[in-house]
Subunit: 293 residues, 2 copies
């Protein structure tokens, strides 16, 4: 069994990005600039945004954090987005989810200029990803593809089972895994809450991508020997063993599944660091105008 | 075994559309207007375009056919598209594919204003379909969903196997079948040329959507008893039995597969008529500004 060290890969990629940014600056080019909007004081969101700002520093990017109280109106938030759309210094920006219930996340996502949509949530980036055109690929799926690539994991003709059909992970990663590409070219099955014979299906999988958000859901009896396991779950489970009082827990029963696998991502330190790293990659691409002119 | 009569359903839907259009006209509303661009003299394309123009008549739509010789330049074609984008009388339009090799189909598709993209090929309509937002859904997948709906075929929790991963059928129909909706909520597997154990997978399928374009590819030994078979194939196979000298042939070995099925679409007369009918439906939606304002 080989552990897929997402943290090490992410650090490596951030160094590569930093080197490229240094070169860009040396040649008088523009420093890539990521802006992050955060609404309210959700603990998870605060942590994620802090990590993103820190990653920007590591990459040599400029970053701007815009914080609003949770009573901001949808209209006011859309006005902020408009300003970022029009700000020529901002190459890319994201709105940290989730948002308070009185604000439509979908409206917010669609309000972001797709040229600056480094989270890859805008329909046009989703569509281009599906068609196989250059696009800002949603960060978590992009991170998963990068891990498969850097660990040189064979995907062509393999049976990849995705558990979960969310718009930000399950659907786009399924879409990427079926493309004519490496990584890709896999036979892809998407399972979800309505799937009746899940175990029967996961037992056929060469690659399982678990993205349903249910701690330790995937157990050893559901996995065939030698499978590749990608764990996207990051549920905060209360814990007396940590200072914060909780522990990030994946969708995979790691302890019992790991011995059966050829490759497996841990939680934390697997897909998580790659997500932030993909956001950095997208910001670099936005700064270079590499996807859209 | 029940035959899914796509022609009868399509006739029914066209009557429903015609009734609605008559009502719109009676109330002084605008007659929906579809424009079709055709380049060159490909026999298949000529037939399809003629069918589309005829369907417009049946629905009470206005239609415009714009024909160009195959030596039209990409720039000239894009200019024509721009004119249709800007023409307030044209509610929707399509460019009949395939195009001559010197013209980029993708560039043409992206040049079409997505508000008028009644073929549903523009990335924004593809993305919105995937996310589950209102969109012009690609005509063939939309037609398949309509057949499943009108025949009241259970899809929730069923295992749907899609053979083929094209941008216009395989991928979008997979996307629709996995949505939280009826029809939908299926466990979906997408197979393609790189799939190694296809028969093993199709034998598990409750629903098979064959969209690879290989005549009589799906044989009886690949299908389990009681399966629902949707045949998207329409390959022109030379024939001495028809006046035209060819015969439209599906991807399914109908004669031997049909006896095993619960439902099956014939070729011709199954998915084909529904595709044109979905285009009419999209044109009506465009005319009513029901998807986009």
């Amino acid at each position: 069994m080989q552990l897929i060290d997402g943290k090490a890969v992410a650090d490596q990629i951030k160094q590569e990005i930093a080197a490229e940014v240094a070169e860009i600056k040396k040649n008088g080019g523009k420093t890539p600039h990521l802006a992050v909007i955060i609404v309210g004081h959700d603990g998870g969101s605060e942590t994620y945004v802090a990590s993103k700002v820190k990653a920007c520093e590591q990459c040599g990017f400029k970053s701007t954090r815009l914080s609003f109280e949770s009573d901001i109106t949808e209209e006011q938030l859309l006005e902020q987005i408009k300003m970022l759309n029009e700000d020529p210094d901002v190459d890319g920006f994201i709105v940290q989810l989730p948002l308070p219930k009185h604000i439509s996340e979908q409206k917010v996502i669609e309000a972001i200029d797709y040229h600056k949509d480094v989270d890859g949530f805008h329909p046009i980036n989703v569509g281009r990803t599906s068609i196989g055109l250059p696009a800002f690929v949603s960060a978590t799926p992009a991170g998963i593809m990068e891990l498969l690539k850097r660990y040189n994991i064979e995907t062509s003709g393999k049976h990849c089972v995705v558990i979960g059909r969310s718009n930000i992970v399950g659907k786009p990663v399924a879409s990427l895994m079926m493309q004519k590409a490496f990584p890709g070219d896999a036979t892809v099955t998407v399972c979800h809450s309505r799937t009746k014979n899940l175990k029967e299906i996961t037992l056929q999988a060469d690659i399982i991508i678990a993205a349903l958000g249910s701690p330790k859901f995937l157990t050893a009896d559901m996995v065939k020997d030698g499978a590749v396991i990608i764990d996207v779950g990051t549920t905060r489970v209360p814990s007396t063993q940590t200072k914060s009082g909780f522990k990030l827990t994946g969708d995979v029963d790691f302890e019992n599944v790991a011995p059966k696998c050829s490759f497996i991502t841990p939680v934390p330190g697997g897909v998580g660091p790659m997500t932030i790293c993909s956001l950095m990659k997208n910001t670099l691409l936005a700064g270079k105008k590499a996807i859209y002119k």
